[in-house]
């Protein structure tokens, strides 16, 4: 209720028009005091909110720079006086991390590139051409959009095993070589481009693929960028699929390596575990703070539309 009050506070305050009568009555003073108190409470609330989300990450960083005995001291030392950088080396040495990172990069980048190659023509065809069976084919896209990978991992595992694709990069890439979500988004974008533009280009006798590459794709670039961010972050972070589709280290990715530190180092070595965790989180958080607006847009507005 209070929150609702705040959301519409602006217009109501404008309508009430406080200092209009010029006389500073007791009520006006009270209102000013109330206003200050409300502002302070509001600021404190905002600070608390930020802390709830920032402190866990700060705690992670802090723990990663402590010795094991130091992690058990309370009240805690937030900034370790003697940062133990060696934890990062220890975390790194628990497994072939260079290999994991290489795999993560190969897999997320390949998925992204293949998706660009498949979704642009497909979404263009669905948006711009009339062809027999397009409704049926698009319904395949829509059904795929609704099938989460958590639902079908068992049969896909058997399938990949039959194709001899388990423990290969290809096995982790191929199922995501196209994206129903991407086609859905991009089709909407292609539909919004005016027909006159294409007609004008056709009159110039431009080849169809040239029209697509030179005129249409640049026009949907913002949607492509937001989709690319979304796809890359999703696959970079993915733990489930690489975990399920691998039985050895050949194609395993960074999230699996980080989760495995605990098995190597044993339970309770939180300092080393958090050091590994920082290695996994830091790049994404840095990217997030650099392009916060774009990323939020990619996740939020694409979800809404």
């Amino acid at each position: 209720m209070k929150a609702a009050n705040r959301a519409i506070e602006g217009p109501i305050r404008a309508a009430a028009g406080s200092p209009m009568n010029g006389v500073r009555t007791k009520r006006a003073l009270l209102r000013i005091i109330m206003n200050v108190v409300l502002r302070l409470v509001n600021a404190a609330g905002l600070l608390l909110l930020v802390l709830i989300f920032a402190l866990p990450f700060i705690w992670m960083l802090s723990t990663s720079l402590k010795t094991l005995p130091e992690t058990m001291i309370f009240p805690p030392e937030w900034i370790p006086s003697h940062p133990v950088w060696k934890n990062y080396i220890d975390a790194w040495n628990t497994g072939p991390f260079l290999h994991y990172i290489t795999n993560s990069v190969i897999i997320s980048v390949s998925i992204l590139l293949l998706q660009m190659l498949t979704i642009i023509p497909a979404s263009y065809a669905f948006a711009r051409y009339k062809f027999a069976g397009s409704g049926f084919l698009f319904s395949i896209v829509m059904v795929t959009l609704m099938i989460p990978s958590q639902l079908i991992f068992l049969p896909v595992y058997l399938e990949l095993s039959a194709f001899k694709l388990l423990n290969t990069h290809l096995g982790l890439i191929l199922p995501f070589a196209s994206s129903a979500f991407g086609i859905f988004l991009l089709r909407q974008a292609f539909r919004q481009i005016s027909d006159e533009l294409i007609e004008a280009a056709r009159l110039d006798q431009a080849k169809e693929w040239k029209i697509i590459a030179r005129i249409m794709v640049p026009m949907v670039k913002p949607v492509l960028v937001t989709f690319a961010l979304f796809s890359f972050i999703a696959h970079w972070n993915d733990y489930f699929w690489p975990l399920v589709m691998t039985t050895n280290e050949t194609a395993r990715t960074l999230p699996i390596g980080i989760a495995k530190i605990r098995e190597v180092e044993g339970v309770g070595t939180w300092n080393i575990l958090m050091a590994g965790n920082v290695i996994l989180v830091a790049p994404i958080l840095v990217v997030f703070f650099l392009s916060q607006r774009q990323i939020i847009k990619a996740f939020v507005y694409n979800g809404v539309k």
């Binding site: 992670m60 829509m142 958590q150 980080i258 997030f288």
Partner: protein
């Protein structure tokens, strides 16, 4: 129109359609087929058992607990995430840059790998040396067992899910709030309508498509929870956090009961399918509406 022009669209959609058919559509049917067999993955023969796997599953107390865990987890997560983020959205829907920073902060867990979040919260919720127990100790509360006790383990996972999901939900709500035309607020304030009335009679109905959308996608997401469970609890203690996807994973990959796991998969398919149909209808309505 030449033959080339007629074939061109099919060529353009073919790669995607082949990928989807191979890795999404066909596996659904393959899973349904497998659910009717008894098979251990290694043996060359599959034994047809009809609906026996389903009968066994539904009469198994462990599976019933898995279903109830998944449902309790989903209901709590969805209710808390959606409710709290609506309140946060009403509070944080301001143009000032400070509010932008707060929005960014609460959104940040959404783009972090669930592996990181699970490890981080396992440490925060450590019964002996966890930060959370120290913080609640400051307020005079005794130490909680969090993930290590069956009575608190599931709610601990809900807390992590809410922490991760609330920022995304809040920003979607804010996007929804901003699509409400400003003159509607002005009209309400001219009518001297009370804030509570404005909220229930005006904001809530205008937001209902957004609320519905978030509830459905949160439900679909929660029903498939896996990562936090695999890393934080492995379904324990005493099965108190075992949920559907983790159960399928264990029966498929640890016990190699493929038919049994597939049958559990079909049950999940039915649940997600029903939610998805609702979502599908909503999605097409929204697209139509825009």
């Amino acid at each position: 129109m030449t033959l080339w022009h007629k074939l061109r669209p099919y060529g353009m959609v073919a790669p995607s359609i082949i990928i989807f058919s191979l890795f999404f559509i066909y596996p659904i049917f393959y899973m349904m087929y497998l659910s009717l067999f008894d098979w251990n993955f290694i043996s060359p023969t599959k034994t047809f058992v009809g609906i026996q796997n389903f009968v066994d599953l539904l009469s198994e107390p462990e599976f019933r607990q898995v279903l109830s865990n998944t449902t309790v987890y989903t209901v709590l997560t969805v209710a808390l995430t959606t409710g709290l983020s609506l309140l946060l959205a009403l509070w944080l829907n301001r143009g000032h840059f400070l509010y932008g920073i707060v929005q960014g902060a609460i959104f940040s867990p959404h783009i972090i790998s669930l592996v990181s979040i699970s490890l981080l919260w396992s440490w925060l919720m450590d019964p002996e040396y966890g930060l959370l127990n120290w913080v609640i100790g400051l307020f005079g509360f005794g130490k909680l067992q969090w993930l290590s006790h069956p009575s608190t383990s599931l709610i601990s996972l809900v807390i992590v899910a809410v922490w991760k999901g609330i920022g995304y939900n809040t920003l979607v709500f804010i996007a929804g709030l901003q699509s409400i035309p400003a003159d509607i607020y002005e009209a309400a304030s001219l009518d001297r309508s009370k804030p509570w009335t404005t909220f229930t009679k005006l904001i809530l109905p205008m937001l209902s498509p957004t609320i519905f959308f978030l509830v459905i996608i949160n439900m679909i997401g929660s029903f498939q929870v896996f990562e936090t469970i695999a890393i934080m609890t492995q379904g324990g203690p005493v099965n108190s956090t075992n949920t559907l996807v983790y159960y399928i994973y264990e029966y498929g990959f640890r016990f190699f009961k493929i038919g049994y796991a597939s049958a559990a998969g079909v049950i999940l398919l039915v649940i997600v399918g029903i939610l998805t149909l609702v979502y599908f209808k909503l999605l097409s309505n929204r697209v139509h509406y825009r």
